[in-house]
Subunit: 195 residues, 2 copies
Amino acid sequence: MLNFPNKKVLSTKQNTIKSNHSNRGMSLENMINNSCEYYLYNNIANIHKKPTPIQVVKVDYPSRSSTKIIEAYYKTPSTTDYNGIYKGKYIDFEAKETNIKNYLGFEYIHHHQITHLENIVKHGGIGFLIIYFKHYDEVYLYDFNDFILLYNKRNDINGKKSIAYTEVKENGILIKRNYIPNLEIIKAIDEKYFT
Amino acid sequence: MLNFPNKKVLSTKQNTIKSNHSNRGMSLENMINNSCEYYLYNNIANIHKKPTPIQVVKVDYPSRSSTKIIEAYYKTPSTTDYNGIYKGKYIDFEAKETNIKNYLGFEYIHHHQITHLENIVKHGGIGFLIIYFKHYDEVYLYDFNDFILLYNKRNDINGKKSIAYTEVKENGILIKRNYIPNLEIIKAIDEKYFT
């Protein structure tokens, strides 16, 4: 757990550093993780990244108290990467980043993640994607209900199914950057779901 | 995904097999997992076990398309094992089984899991423990708010802090056994939180 300074100090730092894009180059995952840690620490929300599922095949016991995994393989996740709770609501999202300037290809979003988010929304949860267009250094929250409409009727663009940057910009919520948290995810959630 | 038969067939099977305790000897984790799978498949709830967190240190690439993990270690989980959504509510629980007849020692419940559940309940989620007393072959749902009261004021029993079987039996909800799902977790949740 990082030892975050109190909020007063934060807001000063935020003003100084905001325009520098000091977290440029940081991976989307790192930005989300440290933002979630900030929200957890400040009792704002409880959202966690799920561990990557790994199939352990063989272990070794170099000492009585330690277990060393010596053969294991990555498994395909059956859900999205992130879930949790905010203001009593179940929150679920998948994060995707792309170097491509104009679109995010649907091939980067696993079918079972789509199915999972559909199911979550049916059960009354809040589901969305966080999409990072690295070329513009812009991160968006894109509501899953909006996404699935596109996803289901989309014809090919550049030979692939995809969502355009312009569509994300138009219908998504720009997630503001900050010093702490790196991504103002909760502000974006408030804007989309709690106003 | 198991191909579950329809509910009509189920209820017949259930009557036949119920008294046999056919899932006796099955691990608590397996019983919970196949119950969650049933709830997911039948659109009743969306609850998943989180993967065990593993720190990957070294990987090998035996072929272009495959990654083999050759050195890794188990990490301490920062949350509980299970979470999800049911009737629009965020659900979070930890599952513990014990061979000891009369109590469950608190040492089996990690402090950060307690902290996590406290936080979840503060945010408006439903938090509980599932406790399996193997000696009696009985599984209980024990509400976290009830648990934390005991946990915070409990004096030692047998030199250890623990919750007695009789307390779990008195204040917990007995989770009924079945053929499919193995554990009627949702019925127990309904009884405790939705009546």
